[in-house]
């Protein structure tokens, strides 16, 4: 589709096709996006905190795509509406904000990992600026290739709006190991999507660390299409005071004998809001699939709110294993007494719980970050 066609779609589509559930209509406050749809493209880029900068990047997406280094085993080129593969050919545009992104994104890249190739480390920073920033990444992993990538989705202090979509098409027998860090200051709504399709016997490992901003909608959708493909997603999500996050982690099983594992830990502080939804769907074609989803949210702030909606839909008679688990808990008196009896104050206990949640997914350790970096925004 052309820019023009996406624009028409944008005008027609609603923000959300159907209400999330009968009781809570929207986990995402789309109004905050709606108010900013008319803004200009960002000119000046937001500064990135030094600890995030020091990760070091092969590609930086800002006003345009800056490819700093050649990475052995892959070709990296600037994306356009008719690059190969085409942006948005994998993922179908299904709501107003996705269509908005589709017709307005301003910088992007296409990464092709060679057949049998191997990438030790490809790190990409997607930044932001005052105004609208739209970034798009398409990744295609060749057959039997092995890749390790780092994606940082950063949204800084200036006013604006950001959309950041990543599409990954995984070739047969390929593997991708991804550390995904989403860090948003409370000044813009951000819509982030990681959409992955898995070919036969491919494996995907995603570790997510997210700290939302004004309104962060973050979706990780995995489509296990090829037989025997496997997905493992571990997420640590935090909503600080004054922020709202709607994190949706999905495993869709289409191929037979596919495996899915999603486990998420979240924490909501102050008056923060965290919806951390883990969903799995096993389609009729996904015979002998196994799928487990788990979402736990701890509420620490007195005015904080959390949702840990798990969903597991099974549409085949033959599953190997299917399980789901979810909880939203406040710090209970018995937990508090127990930890205090070890000599820790309430404040220290809260810190430990926060750190525990943040380190759960492994991103902090892998990228050598201090948990404090999430609080400096």
């Amino acid at each position: 589709m052309s820019r023009e066609q996406y624009k028409e779609l944008f005008e027609k589509l609603p923000f959300q096709p159907i209400a999330d559930t009968p009781t809570v209509r929207y986990y995402t406050d789309w109004r905050l996006f709606e108010e900013r749809l008319g803004i200009e493209y960002a000119e000046k880029e937001d500064a990135v905190p030094s600890e995030i900068e020091s990760i070091g990047y092969d590609v930086v997406l800002g006003r345009e795509a800056r490819i700093n280094r050649r990475v052995r085993g892959a070709s990296i080129t600037e994306a356009s509406y008719d690059s190969d593969p085409k942006p948005l050919s994998l993922m179908k545009v299904s709501n107003k904000m996705q269509a908005f992104h589709a017709y307005r994104w301003n910088a992007g890249i296409v990464v092709s990992v060679e057949e049998g190739g191997s990438i030790d480390r490809l790190s990409i920073l997607s930044g932001s600026g005052e105004g609208y920033t739209g970034h798009h990444i398409v990744v295609r992993t060749g057959r039997e290739s092995k890749s390790r990538m780092i994606l940082v989705d950063y949204s800084g202090e200036s006013d604006g709006l950001k959309t950041f979509f990543v599409e990954v098409d995984m070739g047969q027998g390929s593997s991708l190991d991804l550390d995904f860090l989403a860090l948003h200051a409370p000044s813009k709504p951000v819509y982030t999507i990681l959409y992955t399709r898995l070919g036969e016997a491919s494996t995907l490992n995603v570790r997510l660390l997210s700290s939302g901003g004004m309104m962060s909608k973050l979706e990780i959708a995995t489509i296990a299409e090829g037989a025997k493909s496997g997905v493992d997603v571990k997420a640590s999500d935090i909503s600080r005071a004054g922020t709202r996050s709607d994190v949706v982690l999905t495993a869709l099983h289409k191929g037979p004998e596919t495996e899915g594992n999603i486990s998420a830990r979240g924490v909501a502080l102050g008056d923060g809001y965290l919806a951390q939804r883990a969903l799995a769907r096993i389609e009729p074609s996904a015979t002998w699939a196994s799928s487990e989803v788990e979402s736990h949210v701890t509420i620490i702030g007195e005015k904080a709110r959390g949702y840990a909606v798990p969903m597991l839909e099974i549409h085949t008679g033959d599953v190997v294993k299917a399980g789901h688990e979810a909880s939203v808990t406040t710090i209970q008196e018995d937990h508090l007494f127990y930890l205090r009896s070890r000599g820790l104050s309430r404040e220290e206990i809260e810190k430990l719980l926060i750190t525990g949640t943040l380190t759960f997914s492994g991103v902090i350790d892998n990228l050598n970050l201090s948990p404090q970096v999430l609080f400096r925004l």
């Binding site: 937990h335 007494f337 009896s341 070890r342 000599g343 820790l344 220290e348 430990l352 525990g356 759960f360």
Partner: protein, 255 residues
């Protein structure tokens, strides 16, 4: 005096009177066993000593080395040298067993960063003690009490007691849910605590631990009062005659 002293303690929880004038002492290097039937107030006594806010002290005092603890919070009491191993510790997802031990040690070393390991020998010690207690190494990396078996919970509580090195250790039924070998092991380890000069308040239903561990004193708590107190012979009497007998003797004495 040195050690822990409880004087004429009256306690209420959720409107219900659970302790009605308890007196007891735990001196350093000794095991004072508290026995008593279900619901007699044993755990309430432990919680009150530890300063759990839901247990309201109506009268009496709790002293450590002659100083009252009543005005202190739970964590302050812990920092003064009290440790309580819970009868049934809660599951805490998001916090690892090793994390809580490192935090507890760091706090006692006066560090503001509770998560960083300052001295690697501490980790070695954790593993060594875990092994001695019959725990596998991987348990240290698991979330606190999440999916722990009954026996693993008891051992992990005792492990923490050793690691934080308190003056007084209150053990609330450290033997329940343990197999025979576990009871022996844990009993020997408790003796290890007093050998280090700590005072132990040992709460238990049964005398079975006393095969491996001679208590220095034994008190029987019934309906929130100490009905009988003495040496190991008291435990023998409980074993032989049961709590109903001790209660009736106590009632008779009081007229």
């Amino acid at each position: 005096m040195s050690g822990l002293e409880v004087r004429n303690l009256h306690v209420r929880v959720a409107g219900k009177k659970v302790l009605r004038g308890v007196d007891l002492k735990v001196e350093y290097g000794e095991v004072h066993a508290i026995m008593g039937p279900n619901g007699s107030g044993k755990s309430s006594l432990a919680y009150t000593i530890m300063g759990r806010e839901t247990f309201e002290v109506e009268d009496g005092d709790i002293l450590l080395d002659g100083e009252s603890l009543l005005g202190l919070s739970t964590e302050e009491r812990a920092m003064k040298g009290l440790f309580m191993a819970l009868q049934d510790p809660p599951q805490i997802p998001g916090v690892r067993l090793s994390t809580i031990m490192i935090a507890a040690i760091n706090k006692r070393l006066g560090s503001t960063d509770l998560t960083r390991v300052r001295d690697p020998s501490i980790v070695k010690r954790m593993y060594k003690l875990a092994e001695e207690l019959g725990l596998t190494r991987d348990i240290l990396q698991r979330e606190l009490n999440v999916g722990f078996s009954g026996g693993e919970k008891k051992r992990s509580e005792l492990l923490q007691a050793f690691i934080v090195d308190p003056k007084i250790v209150i053990l609330d039924e450290p033997d329940s849910g343990l197999d025979i070998d576990g009871v022996r092991k844990v009993s020997e380890m408790i003796r290890g605590l007093t050998d280090q000069g700590k005072g132990v308040l040992l709460i238990t239903h049964y005398a079975r631990m006393f095969k491996y561990l001679d208590p220095d004193r034994v008190s029987v708590l019934i309906d929130g009062k100490i009905a009988l107190s003495g040496g190991p012979e008291v435990a023998k009497l409980v074993e032989d005659k049961g709590y109903a007998y001790i209660r009736s003797q106590y009632m008779a004495r009081r007229g």
